[in-house]
Amino acid sequence: MKRRLFALSLLLAGAFLLCSACLVACGGVPRSPGESQDGSTDGSSTVRLEGAGATFPQPLYLEWIGAFIQERKGIRINYQGIGSGGGIQQLTQGTVDFGASDAPMKDEEIAAAEAAGGAKVLHIPMVFGAVVLAYNLKGVEHLRLDQESLAGIFLGTITRWDDAAIAALNPGSELPATDILVVHRSDASGTTSIFTTYLAQISAEWSASVGQGKDVKWPVGVGGQGNDGVAAVVRQQPGALGYVELSYALETGLSVATLQNKAGNYVAPSLESTLAAAKGVDFPEDLRFSLSNSAAPDAYPIVGATWLLVYDRMESPAQAVALKAFLTWCLENGATVARELNYAPLPDELRPLAQAKIDQMQ
C-alpha cells in the first residue's frame, strides 16, 4: 500500500512539474513589454512604455512623465531607477522600451544591444548634471579643494582634515583634527563613472592604479547604496566627504565643496557653472561625449550628461510614435521643470542635434 502511494505521489509531482514547464514554454515573455502576446496594444487604446536606468535623473523623468501623460491621454509610461548599467542591460534584453544612463554605452555594449535588438541604438542626451563633493564639517561654510587635494583624499594619501594641503587652501576656516571619512558608491553607477573619469583626467596615479568606470576598486572609504545612501551617510557622519549628484546634495541640505577647474578658477557647483561646461565642445555624430574637466573659465569641472537610449526601430509602430512624442515633448517643454529641480537643460547648440536623433526613430 505504502509503495503504491509513494509511486502515486511521485507521479503527481512529476505531472505538476510538466504542466508548469509547458505553461512557461508556451506563454513566454513578449519582447516588447508594453504589448500583449499577439502584437496589439492591450484592449483599450492605451499605449504602454517601460523604461529603466539611472537614478540620477529619476526625479526629473518622473516629473516629465507625470506632466506628459496629463497632456496626452492614452499613453502610459513607467520608469524604474535601477542604475545606469541596469538600464543598458534591460534595453539589451528587451525588457524595457528605453534605457537611461549617465555613462554613454561602450562599443561592446552597443554591439551586443544591436545584435540582440536587430536595430541601431540611439543616444539622446537629455540634461546635464554636476557631481558635487558633499561634506559634513561643522562651522566650515565654504570648503575649497584643488585637483591635487581631491585626488589625494580619494587615493588615501591625504587622511586628515587638518592636512597641510587642505589647510593652505582654506585659510579662513577651522578644520578639525579628525580623519576624513570618504564615502563612495557600493553599487555600480553612472555617477561613479562621471566622477572617476574626472579623477583619471586630473591624476595620473589614479588613472594607473584605479581607473574609471561605473564600479571601481576604491582605495579607501565606505560604500553607500545609491545617491541617497551616500547622501545619508555624509549627512550623519561628522567628517564625511562623498560624491553625489547636485540635486541630491541640494535636497538634503548638504554643504558642497568649491572645486578648482582646468583654468585654475575655483567654481561652486550651480546650474550656470554646469551649463558653462558645454561651451565650445565639439559634439560627435553619435552624441557620445564627455564634459568632464572643461577648459571654460567659469565651468564646474565635474559635469556629465545623461542619455536616454532607444532603438531606431521598434516592434510596435504605436509605441514608436508614442516614444518619439514623449522625447520631443521633453526636449521642447522640459527645460523649466529641469531648472526647478536643478538639472541643466541642453544648450541651444545641442538641442537640434538631439532632435535629429529622435527623428531617426520609426
Partner: protein
C-alpha cells in the same frame, strides 16, 4: 492511511520541495562552474575581487560573513538566554504572554526596515559614537583598532543581533519549558537557590537544545542580505579590527548583481553557492541537535 488521495497529494508536495531544492543546487553550481574553474582554488582563498581584471577571490567576503555573524551571536546569545530564562523561570504568569509576543514580533519586521532604521537612526545615535569611543579608549586592543566607523563589521553585527534574538529566544523558551519540573523541584528540595537551580538542573538538560537554537540563529545571520548591505561599509578587506568597514557574501551579490555580465555574474552565483553550502551545513547541524534534545 485513511484517505489515499490526501496522502498522495501531501507526498507529492514533499517530493516537489525536494526536487526544487535539488534543482536549485544543480543549476546554480553548473552556472557558476566555469568561473570557479577559471580561478581554481584562488576563488576561495584569494582576497582580490576585481571584476575589471577578471579576478574573483571571495575570501574577504567569507571572512566578513563569518565575522558579522559571530559578533551577532556574541551580542544576541546572552540577551536571548536572559529573555528565555526570565520568561520561563522568573516572570509572573501575566507578563509571560505579552512579553513573549513582543519579542516574537521582532522576527516579523522586514529585513530592509531593519537596514533603513539602522542607517538613519541607530548609526548616528549609537553605532558611530560607540565605534569612535571604542577605538579611542580601547584602540590598543587589535580588535578595536581605529579609526572606528559605525559602518563596519560591528555595526552590521549589532543589527544582526537584534534580528536573531527572537529566533534564539523563542526556541530556547521551548527547550527550557521541556525540562521536567521534577528535576527543578528536586533541586529546590536540596536547598538550592533559584540561580543554583537554573545552572544545576535546568541548563545542563537544555544545553543541546539551546545550542541548536543558537545555530539556527547563526544560520539566519549568515544569509541576511539587505540590512547587512546597508550597514557593513562595503569594503572588501580582511582586518582584525571589527570597527573597520567590511563586506559579506550576501551583500556583494546584492550590490553587484544588477550590473554584472558574463564571468562576473557567474562568479557572483559562485559566491551564492558557497553561501548556500555554509548555511545548509549550519542548519542541518542545528536541526540534528534540536531533534536530539526534544526526543530525549
Amino acid at each position: 492511511m485513511a484517505d489515499p488521495v490526501f496522502a498522495a497529494l501531501t507526498g507529492a508536495a514533499g517530493i516537489l520541495v525536494l526536487i526544487i531544492l535539488g534543482y536549485m543546487v544543480v543549476v546554480t553550481t553548473l552556472t557558476a562552474w566555469p568561473a570557479m574553474q577559471s580561478q581554481g582554488w584562488s576563488f576561495i582563498f584569494s582576497t582580490t575581487w576585481d571584476p575589471s581584471r577578471g579576478q574573483y577571490g571571495i575570501l574577504a567576503f567569507v571572512y566578513g560573513t563569518v565575522l558579522t555573524s559571530l559578533i551577532a551571536l556574541v551580542i544576541a546569545v546572552p540577551f536571548s538566554l536572559g529573555i528565555a530564562l526570565f520568561l520561563t523561570e522568573i516572570a509572573p504568569g501575566w507578563i509571560r504572554g505579552p512579553v513573549a509576543y513582543m519579542v516574537d514580533l521582532l522576527a516579523a519586521v522586514p529585513s530592509v526596515v531593519y537596514g533603513l532604521w539602522g542607517v538613519f537612526v541607530l548609526l548616528p545615535g549609537l553605532l558611530q559614537p560607540l565605534a569612535v569611543w571604542l577605538s579611542r579608549t580601547l584602540g590598543w586592543i587589535p580588535i578595536f583598532a581605529g579609526p572606528g566607523s559605525g559602518l563596519s563589521f560591528f555595526g552590521a553585527g549589532v543589527v544582526l543581533a537584534i534580528m536573531i534574538i527572537p529566533i534564539i529566544s523563542s526556541l530556547s523558551r521551548e527547550v527550557l519549558r521541556a525540562v521536567p519540573s521534577d528535576e527543578k523541584n528536586a533541586a529546590f528540595a536540596l536547598g538550592a537557590t533559584r540561580w543554583e537551580m537554573i545552572t544545576g538542573a535546568v541548563l545542563p538538560r537544555a544545553k543541546a537544545g539551546i545550542i541548536g537554537a543558537v545555530m539556527l540563529g547563526l544560520g539566519r545571520a549568515l544569509g541576511e542580505t539587505i540590512a547587512v548591505a546597508l550597514l557593513v561599509g562595503s569594503r572588501e578587506q580582511i582586518t582584525a579590527s571589527i570597527l573597520k568597514p567590511g563586506y559579506t557574501m550576501a551583500s556583494i551579490i546584492a550590490n553587484q548583481f544588477t550590473e554584472a555580465t558574463g564571468d562576473h555574474i557567474r562568479a557572483l552565483v559562485g559566491v551564492g553557492v558557497v553561501l548556500f553550502i555554509i548555511t545548509i551545513v549550519v542548519n542541518v547541524a542545528a536541526r540534528a541537535l534540536v531533534w536530539r534534545m526534544v526526543e530525549a
